[in-house]
Symmetry: C2
Subunit: 368 residues, 2 copies
């Protein structure tokens, strides 16, 4: 591990949980942090001034989608994604490995990388560690991810072992790639639900010059309890001086449990995707389906304790009406609400860690 363009300051510990700051060239990130997902270089259903009003310190963009749709040459010509998408805070990019395994057709490993067909047009592509690092360099993200092999769970021990071995080799190759001066790289730990495999993977990654480490291969088929248990047993064993990022997670409960295990960073499509499906997050880990007939004449806001634009100005009845009428405006309002809910949750978590009240907050999210 190596201090570089991305660094981490620990402010306070509370059990295994950490209150800290990740420093980037596009601003400081107060952690624990939730990163909204902007797959194609835009948060779905929002315009940039609406995203700015939500005040996230970092957002995620997907290398796989930007590679297939725009390509590295155009992104370089355009001056990178910050300029193209008019976003001046931090970006994290995944490597696209997860999308190759979850979205694309016809995956085939090769000692050098992975062959796949685009889910958009069926075109054939070959991902190598060097290609994904070059693509992330072209995007110009502040935090890049190594290419990894992410098996769905449940998986056999042999599959997990192959994934760890392959991911170690690919991580070494990613670490050797040139990248922009402002960009840091995180390694990704695989190992499924096998603690010893995760520790073996970790042991290899800490020898490489990364600025942070991610936990990959969770929230891919196992139960929430299995994921929380693995985090409890594993995360505290990661280096203290570097940020720890749990990839693609999760529900409000998952975030609270992740923080309790020592995670600093999260991303998930859940708040934006659920908004499009008509589901909003309310209270402590609860959900409300706006289509329910019970909301038809309900003049209350989505969440009486929320100060987002949707909750300050509109009733459930109005938002339901717009959703049922297939108005995009309903999706915009619910996206604003859900992202506010997630970002507010992280603010509450950070305050609770500062005030030594995190365990009280955590208790509210336990399933009944």
């Amino acid at each position: 591990m190596l201090k570089g363009p991305i660094s981490y300051s620990l402010i306070k510990k509370s059990g295994k949980a950490r209150r800290g700051v990740v420093h980037t060239q596009h601003g400081d990130i107060q952690t624990p942090v939730f990163m909204p997902v902007g797959t194609n270089g835009a948060i779905k259903a929002l315009s940039v001034e609406q995203v700015e009003a939500l005040d996230p310190s970092i957002i995620l963009a997907n290398t796989y989608h930007l590679y297939l749709r725009l390509g590295a040459d155009f992104l370089r010509e355009a001056g990178g994604l910050h300029k193209l998408a008019s976003w001046d805070r931090a970006y994290l990019t995944d490597s696209g490995g997860f999308q190759v395994f979850s979205l694309s057709k016809m995956r085939k490993f090769d000692p050098d990388g992975v062959h796949f067909q685009s889910h958009i047009d069926g075109s054939r592509h070959f991902y190598t560690p060097e290609l994904v690092m070059d693509m992330q360099a072209a995007i110009g993200s502040d935090i890049a991810m190594v290419l990894d092999d992410c098996p769905a769970l449940p998986a056999t021990h042999e599959r997990i072992e192959a994934s760890v071995k392959r991911s170690i080799v690919w991580a070494e190759r990613c670490a050797r790639c040139e990248r922009p001066a402002h960009q840091g790289v995180f390694g990704i730990v695989q190992g499924g639900l096998e603690l010893d495999m995760r520790l073996r993977h970790l042991e290899a990654l800490v020898e490489m010059p990364f600025q942070g480490l991610s936990i990959g291969g969770l929230s891919v088929g196992e139960t929430p309890e299995e994921m929380h248990d693995m985090c409890q047993k594993f995360v505290y064993q990661m280096p203290e001086d570097f940020p720890r990022y749990l990839m693609g997670v999760g529900t409000p409960w998952d975030l609270v449990e992740g923080v309790a295990a020592g995670i600093d960073m999260f991303d998930c499509v859940m708040p934006t995707r659920n908004a499009r499906m008509g589901t909003v997050f309310v209270g402590e880990g609860k959900r409300l389906n706006i289509r329910n007939a019970a909301n038809r004449k309900d003049m209350r806001p989505l969440d009486e304790n929320c100060q987002c634009l949707a909750c300050r100005r509109f009733s459930r009845a109005y938002i339901r009406h717009l959703y049922v009428a297939k108005e995009i405006t309903a999706v915009i309002l619910m996206t604003i609400h859900n992202l506010t809910h997630y970002l507010d949750l992280m603010r509450k978590i950070r305050t609770a860690l500062e005030n030594d009240t995190f365990e009280e907050l955590r208790a509210k999210f336990q399933p009944a």
Copy 2:
């Protein structure tokens, strides 16, 4: 005609064109004005703070859609559409007559009204002048429209004559309905492309206590030239002391020609609908299809002379990328651009009328 809650002040005439103000209980409307359409009580693809940033003085809502989806009882319970949709400027509502003729199935006239089936769920309904006025009272719009019979063009003389006769009877019945103290009612002139039928209809309507008059039954199948010609021959014969509203019109060229004929108010779904279809308005009456391959690497804004959010921050290349990736964000940005284009055009028209330069502006919109 009768001065009432809605009144009109003429500031200046320039040929047949008029620069004026329509006074409502929800603010003054500088005319000529374009009214963005919010069919279901929201401008499609925008959230209310984005609409406020565009600064329209009045928006339109569709009685037909609000009647079928929400009903008068709920709208009364909710305190009207201003409260439900958190909009504190003026609303104009159409009567729903046009939608019955354009959207619904199985229309059948009855001396008392019109039977139709909902385009949403096939349910059967019966519109009467009294029902549509009650519905508009429940919505609480500032300007309500009478129920009319709007035939598509071309139409036979017999069909036009029947429409005028029926519309006169219905207008009288609408004028007798109770309504909120802040609400004015406009009559609607039908008559297709027959000037004498329009004059006969007008003659009947000016005897009734309306606060404004609309030209209906245009932009329903005839050519733009036929519409402009009818406006030139007819509009100046309408009373001077009341606002004149050309319903459902039109392209930028149509607006300029409408103003030249003496029209004060316009509404049209064109800017919002075209945005969803990927078409933006640029320059003087020109259009750009964002999907064109020519835009793939074009780093210019949609319109170099536009100051909207989309043009200030994004390139055609980025917006095209988002549109092709089916991102709602692209539709939001193009909706903001198109509405800005329309509202800016009306600002330019008003300034030109004040400065006696309207004919120069008008000349730029003539087809080559």
